[in-house]
Amino acid sequence: MIGFISYLVNGISLGSVYAIIALGYTMVYGIAKMLNFAHGDVIMIGAFVVFSTVSGAGLPPVVGVLISVVACTLLGMAIERIAYKPLRKASKLAVLITAIGVSYFLQNVALLIYGANTKSFTSVVSIEPITLADGAMVISGETIVTVIACIIIMIGLMTFMKYSKAGRAMLAVSEDSGAAQLMGVNVNSTIAMTFAIGSALAAIAGVLLCSSYPSLTPYTGSMPGIKAFVAAVFGGIGSIPGAFIGGILLGVIEILGKAYISSQLADAIVFAVLIIVLLVKPTGLLGKQIQEKV
């Protein structure tokens, strides 16, 4: 029983990281209607910035994280301005391929700057772990911080979308960008802001990912990026609570699958569950059903 709870806690911890990444994915998808495959690599850049500032330059972790958030925000806006904005009216596939190009680009830039060697990431969390049941179960400080950060971010985002003017503009653009423009919403700056928020979240996700799993290479972001994409689809892409639930569930399924079915087939299990869910609910758990008009 202790074992099961322990697995569950680990699953929620992993799932929270997926959820934060997925929130970024879902924001961008919901508003810009594009799959930003480079999102995972922005995470990696965010982690590297913290690595350079905290472990390299010796700045306090909080400052490092703030620098990283600013850097990723600027990076996200730059990517949007240079690579995605010219393609606003182009086919979705063209944007997808460009995003893949951006992803390769970021990976190779990091490879040239930092080299291929693994870096060990020093956790920015300094909370003591909680030990339960005579050491049979340990909840680490990273887990606690990640889960709390994830919940705060989700609630913050939902409040922002619902009550702030900018957030409502985002909702309007996501519903119908043409109509929003007619109503006086600046579509371009709204989309730019979406990328800024999404990338800031990516920086936070990068820090938390590497604090829990302390190894950092230029390819660190790609697999969690894909998993988070799966999580976002799982919960219904475009939906903020959906991304949260999808992320947590994905983490829990991955860990429990590993623990009770097979550690070799963990990925296959995750993807199989995804397929089953989508076959039952074709737009994800909380996705909107879009009525087709003739």
Binding site: Y104, V109, V230, D267, A268, P282, E292
Partner: protein, 354 residues
Amino acid sequence: MKTRNLSKLTKSNFITYGIVIAAYIIVEIFLRAGMVSSLLEGLLVPLCMYVILAVSLNLTVGISGELSLGHAGFMCVGAFSSAIFSKCMETVLPVAGIRFFLAILIGTAFAALFGVLIGIPVLRLKGDYLAIVTLAFGEIIKNVVNVVFLGRDSRGFHISTKDSISLGLEKGGEVIIKGPQGITGTPKDSTFLIGVILILITLFVVINLINSRTGRAIMAIRDNRIAAESVGISVTKYKLLAFSVSAALAGTAGVLYAHNLSTLTALPKNFGYNMSITILVFVVLGGIGNIRGSVIAAVVLTLLPELLRSLNDYRMLIYAIILIVTMIFTSSPGGREIQERIKLFFKKKKTKEA
């Protein structure tokens, strides 16, 4: 009017076949003259494979309008099923030609079978959800292949997902699939000529399918599903047809792949979603729905990173930049304008000459 249209279409198709045949003849002449570098010689079969993959994926993405990110999975099925066959039959069927012919049939058939099995549930979904589910299937196939151990001895086949010891083989038995190491020692049967023939068959199948009644039905579904349904077109049937033909052809490419290298492993690099995306890049850059474009894009983009080898560390960076710039140039309004101007410039020149 109609006949003129048709003849224009056939003409365009013949140009596509012509390009492939001409390329084959030219390369063959250079080969005979010993003027082709080893690098290019080694790339010939992979080039054929990528062309087939791009053309077949274009059938799903361009003609049927479904974004599939699991194409590499079907390639994996074709590669492994045919490699198992070839490995088992190497001693029984020493004639490479017949064995490889059968291997191609088996690889294609298995991939088609998977195409149907996966297509039935998947095609109920739409857009990005379909994309993610095809990606998921591709990853599952790769993941499962990676843990399978298959051995053969006098008592028949043994299968395990643990390790090769647990197969319990008798002395003299051989391990065919060795987990992550996959299949080693597949006979090298793929040749450039066979590759080109397979490209021509692929083109023939795809082009004829597009220009048939079936193809028009598929495109009608792509353009407006509800309207197509209302005139009595069976959506499931036609979508499934396009999807499984595409899968089968990807399987054929997989057979070429498996019989070109002596080692076959299911790594993220060759059968993961990365490969599916690489093929998708060919299709999009070549022009969605444009078969000839797929052929050319597959060749150019496969050669590009190899020709950039002298740049060493900067190779993949340059490749990424070229990818982004090309996409912006071909798909953005600004880029289109420049294109139009270039076209206009040539047109003017032509009329002047005339």
